[in-house]
């Protein structure tokens, strides 16, 4: 292992020069063709953004570029030289690193040890050269403008800082091509800004970036080149100057534009869910994460809770569902105070949550599609203390039809379903309990555009029948097109409400403390708050 260089070292490749080329790459898993002859270029000093729905082949392509998997056909060409990447170590030695959605750091080790994990520098005696490692770590952190001491335990770092440590780790290995897979999904707005600034510095130094994100607007804002994959094929490849959001969505889905569920104003029913002065403090730190929040959801109304990550949205939802204890306030469901009830008691009274993290909190992996679907409403199919098989399979059949789950049958393992279909099962599971208000935390996260539309269609259809819906999103497009009312949260407080028919994206984003364009920030958070009542 050669001594790590800093990324500022001058390079012999010019900005814009093609450094890595994929020629006719294909990959088959069993009967599925994940990639069908993809040609793809990565240029030095530029950001190439990969767009595509889930299952379009993005992650497969990333795995091949980073050496995790080998292609079944085609050739990788690095600096005009055909190469075969045996594994990730091989890729890293050739200067190609990948940063995943979840950081792959050891939280119990410090920053220095993480950066050099598996590539430790040795003294002449054979021990680890901690001094030199710390030295290089400090230099890298300075360069990334994140002054974290080399001895800081990674567990003490925020997500954004951990992401920076991952980048430092890649730089320490002399990375020239950096692949970033959904790097912003866990970051706050300010952390995203730091990350984008770092990306700008890296590209200025000639590092090629390959970037994947479901956050289309964000990704468009930093792209130099846009590449769109659909069904394993490369369908479009344009410089960023030629593209915009509708273009990307159209190429990704093969369909025109987004869904639009805006309805003519109609009368909603009684207030179904009433939250009064709800305050939640973080149990560990005592920090107030939800601050004196009051809001109402009427029957038949779809309310969107818009805000950035870290605005307290998830904490609010989990508290309303009864998982987290509240510090103060009232939660009234159809006039009854449910603040002291358990999760299961709230569900039986008609208030349930579709959680943010589907894999961790949503599906029960070892149960089938049918058993997942009937789990929450199991009590309704119990006859004389035992589950009635007839009644249960009846309910499951109706439920699967209602939420249009695409599965071979009720006995199919839930894990074999796509993300969108799994989410439909999670939603269907709660619909079976006949809720009066459904809470959904980022219901379309990690779901492709087609399924997103279907999920909102389902919610609007249930709302017509009288269901009240409160859902969280960080995608402005979703908030504007699929809600009756937008409630904006910022730093734990509800700052403003909007009618999506009479307000603009910029207004809503500004209220949340987010700037309309993350790279050229003009609105500061203070201004945004100052502008709210």
């Amino acid at each position: 292992m050669s001594a790590p260089a800093t990324a500022t070292a001058p390079t012999d490749t010019e900005i814009g020069e093609v450094v890595l080329r994929a020629v006719g790459i294909s990959k088959t898993y069993g009967v599925t063709k994940a990639l069908k002859g993809v040609d793809f270029e990565v240029r030095a000093g530029q950001v190439t953004v990969l767009f595509g729905e889930n299952g379009a082949g993005k992650s497969t392509l990333m795995k091949i570029l980073s050496g995790v998997e080998q292609p079944t056909g085609g050739q990788l060409v690095l600096h005009e030289e055909p190469i075969t990447l045996e594994n990730t170590v091989d890729a890293v030695e050739r200067g190609i690193s990948i940063i995943h959605q979840e950081t792959n750091l050891c939280p119990n080790l410090n920053v220095r040890d993480n950066i050099f994990l598996g590539r430790e520098l040795h003294t002449r005696m054979g021990g680890i050269d901690y001094a030199r490692e710390a030295d290089i770590t400090s230099r890298l952190m300075r360069q990334l403008e994140e002054e974290i001491a080399p001895q800081t335990p990674v567990a003490d770092l925020r997500m954004g800082q951990q992401q920076i440590v991952e980048i430092a780790r890649a730089l320490a290995a002399e990375t020239r091509i950096l692949i970033m897979d959904e790097p912003t999904s866990a970051l706050s707005a300010s952390e995203v800004e730091v990350l984008f600034r770092v990306i700008g510095e890296l590209t200025a130094n000639g590092v090629a970036i390959v970037y994947i994100s479901h956050h289309l607007e964000e990704a468009i804002s930093i792209a130099d080149h846009a590449v769109v994959l659909r069904d394993g094929e490369l369908v479009a490849h344009e410089p960023a100057s030629e593209i915009d959001l509708p273009w990307v969505v159209h190429r990704m889905t093969g369909r025109q534009a987004e869904y639009d569920f805006r309805e003519e104003p109609r009368d909603f029913g009684e207030v179904a869910l009433s939250v009064r002065n709800l305050t939640v403090a973080d149990l560990g730190t005592g920090r107030v994460v939800v601050d004196d929040v009051s809001l109402d959801v009427r029957t038949g109304e779809i309310v969107c809770l818009y805000g950035l990550m870290g605005a307290g949205r998830t904490e609010l939802m989990e508290t309303l569902a009864g998982r987290d204890p509240m510090t103060a306030g009232e939660v009234l469901l159809n006039g009854e105070n449910v603040a002291d009830l358990s999760v299961s008691d709230r569900i039986s009274r008609g208030l349930g949550l579709v959680p943010e993290d589907r894999q961790r909190d949503g599906v029960v992996q070892l149960l089938s599609v049918g058993s997942n679907l009937s789990l929450a409403g199991l009590r309704s199919v119990v006859r004389r203390g035992l589950i009635s098989r007839g009644a249960e399979s009846d309910r499951i059949r109706r439920g699967m039809a209602e939420v249009t789950v695409k599965a071979a049958g009720p006995g199919t393992p839930i894990t074999s379903l796509s993300g969108g279909n799994q989410q439909k099962v999670v939603i269907g599971k709660l619909l079976m309990t006949d809720p009066s208000v459904l809470l959904l935390d980022e219901p379309t996260r990690g779901i492709d555009v087609g399924a997103k539309g279907e999920i909102f269609a389902l919610l609007f259809q249930e709302a017509q029948k009288g269901l009240g819906v409160l859902y969280v999103t960080s995608e402005i497009g979703e908030a504007m097109t699929a809600s009756h009312r937008i409630v904006v949260m910022n730093k734990g407080r509800v700052v403003r409400e909007f009618d999506p028919r009479t307000s603009t994206r910029a207004e809503v984003m500004a209220a949340s403390g987010e700037s309309a364009n993350p790279t050229t920030s003009t609105t500061t958070t203070d201004e945004a708050i100052g502008g709210t009542p």
Partner: protein, 378 residues
């Protein structure tokens, strides 16, 4: 348990990518196939063991010997049924062996009579009272485990390891260095006779413990497959957070399974003192390990969410037939332990190897299909 049970334990394995679509018949077939694969391994081991020892020894399949085996198997199987519930939840209960000893000692002391304070009298409870109290003590130990694990969220391993020492210590305290033997018989004058007549009886030639095992196995099957509690147990064992958000009372479920495990231990405690006609301080030592082994051989996953009553019972028989066979053919006690341990590891390893081979086979078949499809289309 029937082969047509619904999905709770019917789809424990990832299916091949080209599993048949829809249709009730195809679903039934995949269910029986997958459950047969899980338990088939244990069943195969059982048949193998019986065949080998039957060839090596003429006495092995002797009815008398079979009854002996069944009695030993029953004790372990009853504990294993409780252990299965705990393991389905992703927990472990190391304290059941000590609880067996403790309930034995409690029952023994009750037969010896209770010194009533203030009066000079000694009270001799009737046998049914003794039985209820003893099993209740087992349930109480389990309840303590359950509360500590579910409410305080302590690690099951630690809590039940602690309870293992507490239970054994209390057993020693209660017996105070003396076995209780003759008192178990009771005295006509005291009205506490009849314990052996029930707990050492052999209805229809089978030891009572075997009947208890059968009854509890049927009960456990219904509980796991047909009751909401069973579904909740499988769900919370697979993904507790998701189960909670689905309205499953995960804390209550968790507490109750330890109560069930403790109750099973209480029942075994009574059956055992009747079996050896004595309450001793070392009664039930290491029983927890045999129970865990039976559950694991039966195809359950220690990570929770996967396991069946049928597999567990077969697992208990594997251990019982193996242990007895080794004795009968005269293997030295030292080697018996080596072989038993090796069989446990082998059983789990075979499961894993089978799984890997299955995945590889599915991948190979799929790749071959792609090749033929490509060649025909070309």
């Amino acid at each position: 348990m029937t082969a047509t049970n619904t999905s709770a334990e019917a789809t424990p394995r990832p299916q091949s990518p080209q599993s048949p679509t829809g249709g009730v018949t195809s679903r039934l077939r995949s269910i029986t196939l997958s459950s047969a694969l899980v338990e088939g391994r244990a069943l195969l081991a059982l048949i193998l063991i019986i065949t080998v020892f039957a060839l090596l020894s003429d006495n092995y399949l002797d009815p008398g010997n079979l009854v002996t085996i069944t009695k030993q198997v029953a004790f372990n199987a009853i504990l294993a049924l409780g252990m299965l519930m705990v393991i389905l939840n992703g927990g472990i209960d190391l304290s059941v062996g000590s609880t067996v000893g403790l309930t034995g000692a409690v029952a023994g002391n009750l037969f010896r009579g209770l010194d009533l304070p203030l009066t000079q009298a000694i009270m001799f409870p009737q046998v049914w009272v003794i039985v209820v109290i003893s099993v209740g003590v087992g349930a109480l130990v389990g309840y303590a485990n359950g509360l500590l694990i579910s409410r305080l969220r302590l690690a099951p391993f630690i809590v039940t390891l602690g309870m293992l020492y507490v239970g054994r210590g209390l057993t020693e305290v209660l017996l105070n260095g003396q076995n209780i033997t003759n008192e178990l018989r009771g005295q006509e004058g005291l009205g506490n006779t009849g314990f052996f007549e029930v707990f050492a009886s052999r209805p229809l030639g089978l030891p009572i413990s075997a009947w208890v095992m059968i009854a509890l196995a049927v009960l456990a099957s219904i509980l796991l497959v047909r009751s909401p509690f069973g579904r909740w147990l499988y769900a919370s064992g697979s993904n507790e957070r998701a189960a909670e958000l689905s309205g499953v009372p995960v804390t209550r479920v968790k507490t109750r399974i330890y109560v069930i495990a403790g109750t099973c231990a209480g029942i075994v405690g009574l059956l055992q003192i009747a079996n050896i006609s004595s309450a001793t301080a070392d009664l039930g030592q290491f029983y927890e390990l045999n129970a865990i082994a039976a559950v694991v051989i039966g195809g359950a996953a220690l990570s929770g969410g996967r396991g069946t009553v049928r597999g567990t019972i077969i697992g208990a028989f594997v251990i019982g037939f193996l242990a007895n066979g080794l004795v009968i053919v005269g293997v030295s006690p030292f080697w018996q332990q080596v072989i038993t341990g090796a069989v446990i590891i082998l059983a789990v390893a075979v499961d894993r190897i089978q799984q890997i081979a299955q995945n590889r086979g599915a991948a190979r078949r799929a790749a071959a299909e792609v090749r033929t499809a490509a060649s025909t289309s070309a």
